[in-house]
Amino acid sequence: MPKTNKYKDIAEVEELKSRLAEAEETLHAIKSGAVDALVVSEPNGHKVFTLKGEDYTYRVLVEQMHEGALTFTEEGIILYANKSFANIVQLPLEKVIGSSIYDFVAYQSNNDFASLIKNGKKKSKGSRGEVELKIVTGRKLPIYASINSLQIYEIEAFSMTVLDISQLKIAKKLEESEEKFRTLAENIPTLTWTANADGYIYWYNSRWYEYTGTKPEQMEGWGWQSVHDPKVLPQVLKKWKASIADGESFEMVFPLKGADGIFRPFLTRIIPMRDSENNIIQWFGTNTDITKQKELERQKDEFLGIASHELKTPVTSIKAYGQVLQKMFQKKGDAKSVEQLQKMDAQINKLTNLVEDLLDVTKIQSGRLEFHEDYFDFNELIQETVDELQLTTEKHEIITEFKKTKSIYADKERIGQVLTNLISNAVKYSPHAKKIIIKTTYDNTKVTLCVEDFGVGIPKDKQEKVFEQFFRVSGSKQSIFPGLGLGLYVSSEIIKREGGRIWVESIEGKGSTFCISLPIKKNKIEQQKNTLADTEIQHE
């Protein structure tokens, strides 16, 4: 046996001895519980990592830490992790150790994490930064990580501490949103404030103080009453207290006194803010100065009033000339000309109705719509209207199916206006149909009229809207159906004021049925007026 081989053998024995000694030391340490033994598979086989006895105190410290702590190899294999880290990632400790740290890094944080590792290696002080972890549940968790590089058995490794900052983030977000709210509230022209659940106002934006010329100590709680009109204040208080009691949002127009002593109309809206258990935490209120809108509304009404008056003058003479002509042809026995002039007259009436609608809108809005009520025969009025409107259409046959009705007490002309509107709409929106059916029924308290057409119909979601101002059948067919979008609005206002009801049943593509019901007996319009006055109070 060559000498060199003998030396090699000795070296080998020495090597084995040292390994054995190491293994014995490890076994002893494990037995005494002073150390964790870690077996990690590496490309070159298994490797055992141990924590030396003198590191025991550090280990206790690390175990007690609230923050997560771990060490991992360059490849990311977790060599050691404390319980806090296991809690953070919501896995048992034994599953954490030996797995890869990269399994816990959220996909979108991969780049940030890689640069933390890179910097941790380069800098002696290590690197710090926010990244997101991925929890088994799929949830993302924001953490603050601190990474240092270290050598374990000549192997490049990293230590990392992990701080769960999700609560901090929420708190910060809250703070940011509060900050955003304040910034917003301070920069809008609207007067803004917040109140406790019991209605005690604890904060106003500076616009409030600017407008009212008051000081915070004057306004706190219920001090706002001093800038209200004493005449209106009881109603405001009543409504606001009812809102607080019911938890319902509040909307009202009332005057507020400016620093200059002038009252201006404000639209006030107050909404409750609730917690997850639906309890009201606070109230959020805004007061918007609507002086300009009111002024513009007044100008619009004035303009519409003048415009419709001016339009009526030539319409009146055209209609009168037409009727004179008609009379002349009648005397001559020229039936054909009479018929044509009747058609012309029906068209003039249509024009008149459009002009009337404009004027009525202004009257409704300023509460100047007058009613001259008396008893009249409902069916007779319908028949008159049908006869007149039959002249406007050659395509449709307007069929009446009357039950005998009693006289009703209402404004005949206004009800006639509603009938004209409903029947002309039926004609207008059923260009390809041949008939329109008008039915009346009655019971002890009311008469009901329904106008049924077989036209385009109204989609379900639009059916309530048809009674709103300026609503028109929209979409591609709009061009086929011209109009101001006021007829049904005016009609519904008239019916409401007469104490009746108006509604529609419709199937898109099949047709619509518009119905009205009216009380037979004299009803109290005064009550209606009072409820109207309750929703909006104008300062005089």
Partner: protein, 121 residues
């Protein structure tokens, strides 16, 4: 003798058309587009006055009140004409006998006129 009707409206076309209507029915018609002339009426009074409520700045209700106060003219039936349908109350307050809204049906105007002309005198 034909009944005599005075039509007062500041729009010449309306005055013209109403005149045609009434003459077709056999009435004798006088017209004016100026409210001032009504105040100056003397001796010859119409059997009925059709009076616009608003005549180029002149308030028809003022004219109406004036005529209804004067013993010489208070018996003249006055029908107010207005572009506003909601004038019943103010027409009554001014002392007018009736009112009609523009635009109106010819038969409606004629029946109102006949109602007052036939009972007067």
């Amino acid at each position: 003798m034909n009944k005599h009707i005075l039509v007062a409206d500041d729009d010449p076309a309306i005055v013209d058309a109403i005149q045609m209507m009434l003459e077709l029915e056999g009435y004798t018609v006088d017209t004016t587009v100026n409210g001032e002339t009504i105040y100056k009426m003397e001796k010859v009074y119409p059997d009925l006055l059709l009076l616009d409520i608003w005549m180029s700045g002149q308030d028809g209700r003022e004219i109406c009140r004036y005529l209804k106060k004067d013993p010489l003219t208070k018996k003249i039936p006055i029908i107010m004409i207005s572009a506003n349908r909601d004038i019943k109350a103010s027409a009554e307050k001014a002392g007018a006998d009736d009112f009609i809204a523009k635009p109106f049906e010819m038969h409606e105007l004629l029946s109102k006129v006949a109602k007052y002309v036939d009972t007067s005198n």
